[in-house]
Symmetry: C2
Subunit: 193 residues, 2 copies
């Protein structure tokens, strides 16, 4: 799984899902990728290490795109959008959290697809994908190859859903026990919509 | 708030709470501190940056201690335990998540205090603090100056509780809206106990 990082990504958008997927080292290897490798600073001021740049990233099966303040800049970053686009052709599954959906939309991946995003920035995200069928009331939306989730912590619920879809419910329940996360299993029960 | 980092800390133990406290930049500054400054790798393979070592850390008001596999080593790390001890005398509030409680116990801070920890490692943590009143069924335990929480995601609930205790419920609710986290507000409702 390639995890895209950029300046001012939202910390928990990345680390919530990564905590869950990281509980399955036999199934999933994580690769942290940014336009330039090196330290990338989250909106919560913690700097994390991108081990790969776009050129050196390994071949991916899954692509993970977080949101955060930084997406306001990255929607205008052509090399990043075109990297997302190239990866999208090759991967099996694309996941986004929060305003990460704006990057997928701007890259053209959400045209004529269903998607969601976080509630406080919903209208801005919508404006990035005028041909997307945006669903406001949803913890996450599974459109087959692309699964988008609502704001920040909703990404954790989406990840547990994805783990069950890929590896079964008993694997998901193991991860839940390890992380003591109270899974919100109904994607339509969206308290924040 | 000083956030202690060590090799193989549990990623979400740190980043869940930091996401919440990081929503209050006017109230809380975060300082990431390790025995040596530089990159510290979490159990989920993400490396994060400790900007301070023990000698250069700023004066703290709050001390935050995560858990993770690394605590099995750190309970035998005298410089780290003695740094925790020195900080404990000066700070207003000490928070731990998961097996971070083992470090507080080993540093002698939990003697004759109430505390909790994560459920899968509970017996090991207990053995680090034979004079502690361990409470198994609790999402978090508020003992006044020390607040300990259960495994991984329980740290997020504890953090929201702490934000309400320090700054009021309306601040907490703002953070909840921003992060779309489904707060588990009853500390005694512990599904994993």
């Amino acid at each position: 799984m390639g995890v895209l990082l950029f300046e001012e990504f939202e910390l928990l958008d990345v680390t919530g899902p990564i905590e869950m997927f990281g509980c399955l080292p036999d199934q999933i290897n994580l690769a942290f990728i940014a336009e330039q490798k090196g330290l990338v600073t989250s909106s919560q001021s913690l700097a994390v290490m991108a081990m790969y740049d776009f050129a050196s990233a390994p071949k991916l099966d899954f692509l993970f795109v977080p949101g955060g303040k930084g997406t306001r800049t990255e929607v205008n970053n052509s090399p990043l959008l075109s990297w997302i686009n190239t990866q999208a052709l090759q991967v099996e599954l694309i996941l986004s959290v929060c305003t990460g959906a704006a990057l997928l939309a701007k890259a053209g991946l959400l045209d004529h697809h269903k998607a969601t995003s976080n509630k406080l920035a919903f209208d801005w995200v919508k404006s990035q994908g005028p041909n997307t069928q945006w669903i406001r009331k949803a913890r996450w939306v599974d459109d087959g190859k692309i699964i988008t989730s609502s704001g920040v912590a909703a990404g954790i619920d989406m990840s547990l859903y994805v783990i069950a879809r890929l590896y079964g419910e008993s694997k998901r329940d193991e991860v839940i026990r390890q992380t003591e996360y109270m899974f919100n299993e109904d994607p339509e029960k969206d308290f924040f919509a």
